[in-house]
Subunit: 237 residues, 2 copies
DNA sequence: GCGCGCCAACTTCCATGCAAGATGACATGC
DNA sequence: GCATGTCATCTTGCATGGAAGTTGGCGCGC
């Protein structure tokens, strides 16, 4: 019997192959790093990770190469894999990249055709409403997810695969910091208001306003976050 | 005798290990792709490349993983390595990333301290002068190199490693297109004038002007380039 | 001529072996 | 105590082989 190869028309543009062991190792390690099960600064041998994942060294080694390209680990020749930590300096860098990319993305979305703009704005507003609902319910993790979904949607509607990849990599790097600071943040209302402003500018097709609003939103977020990290004395996270 | 480990204080922040076979394979393949010795669309087996480079399949395979992360090739499972081609759509994406990143970089450089700004502006002006000299001499390749050096310096002075990496990857992807269109371009003078405007804004510490000038420079370049490609019917390069 | 299945050739995926680099403990000389 | 040389151990870099997936050609039935 011929194998039924289901070529699902994946919306996001998924890879069409089923996962190899390398993919498994990559996903497992990436996830473990994001959730800090492999804590920053930890240095593991490939052999050890291979044993833990039930495979040989080869796929772990190849996954480590990909993770190094993503900026999540450093492969030290003949000494193992080190999980990279984030310094405040890194957060400054990361925010500057986000400020640049997300600003341009907002501008691009605001110059889409009328119907596309409306759909994008509706989508963004839905995420903002989810944030506000989570805030009202005191559900901080849900708030964080909705916030992340808003920003992912903003980038997604710009229809630029390279921007999406860049933001994805940057988000992976800063995921731990975001989870940490979620509990410390003030001014959740301000975020919601910013989001509505961005969406409104997009809906109106005012690209310059959208760019400025997205920029300012991230500039403010950074100026709140960096002192927060400094106060806690978090220099490596 | 103890081995003299010369830890050269590399300015750019080089890796501190001497090149492995994987590094050799990566550099050789990247270079071959940039110079189109491995033409876009070409599909090679890892075995074939390994033979050509005089090594076994393993380092070639690992280099291919890195090149895939850089967006230069696609590794097709059990079918080989395909050199990716660039469509006009890709150039649009690439320019939007550059517009975003380089604009922010110019803004950041313009907010450096006085002496640092002056040094950066002097550096940029030197590259612009080199461009104009090359133009006067009719040396188009030299003009292209000086232009690239200007933009690399602009990013470099922003002191953001992540921005540098992003721009580096994007430049690798678009190098072939740039070489092709170098011969077709008009308005070389306009580029020089743009560059001087960017440097002047940085020198004066006018960050908003610097941002706008860098943006407009790239926006104009794109609006000149895309029709050029369309006229030549270059849909995959 | 045309569609279909089968098969040989080709290719990577992954495990494993060997050699060599890196490290830390320990003995040695001062 | 301190610096240094030596060595056992741990670790990866790279080569290679077996297994399995992919492809294109060829013959067969119609």
């Amino acid at each position: 019997m011929a194998k039924a190869r289901v070529e699902a028309g994946t919306i996001g543009g998924n890879r069409d192959r089923r996962p190899s062991l390398v993919d498994d190792a990559y996903a497992a390690m990436r996830d473990a790093i994001r959730e800090a099960r492999l804590p920053p600064g930890y240095q593991a041998s490939e052999q050890e990770i291979a044993l833990r994942l039930g495979m040989s060294r080869t796929p772990v080694h190849e996954a480590a190469i990909r993770l190094q390209e993503d900026g999540l680990v450093r492969v030290l020749p003949r000494r193992g894999i080190r999980i990279l930590a984030l310094a405040p300096e890194d957060m400054r860098e990361i925010y500057d990249v986000i400020i640049a990319i997300e600003g341009r993305a907002a501008e691009l979305v605001a110059t889409l055709s009328g119907p596309e703009r409306l759909r994008a704005a509706d989508d963004l507003d839905a995420h903002t409403r989810a944030m506000e609902a989570a805030q009202a319910a005191g559900d901080l993790p849900a708030w964080g997810r909705a916030d992340a979904a808003f920003h992912a949607a903003l980038i997604g509607h710009a229809r630029n695969g390279r921007m999406s990849r860049i933001v994805q990599a940057i988000n992976d790097q800063s995921h731990r910091a975001r989870m940490l600071t979620l509990n410390l943040r003030r001014g959740l209302e301000a975020s919601g208001a910013d989001h509505r402003q961005i969406a409104a500018a997009i809906r109106a097709g005012e690209s310059e306003v959208a760019l400025a609003a997205a920029r300012d939103h991230r500039l403010r977020a950074r100026s709140e976050l960096l002192p927060l990290l400094a106060d806690c004395g978090l220099t490596h996270l």
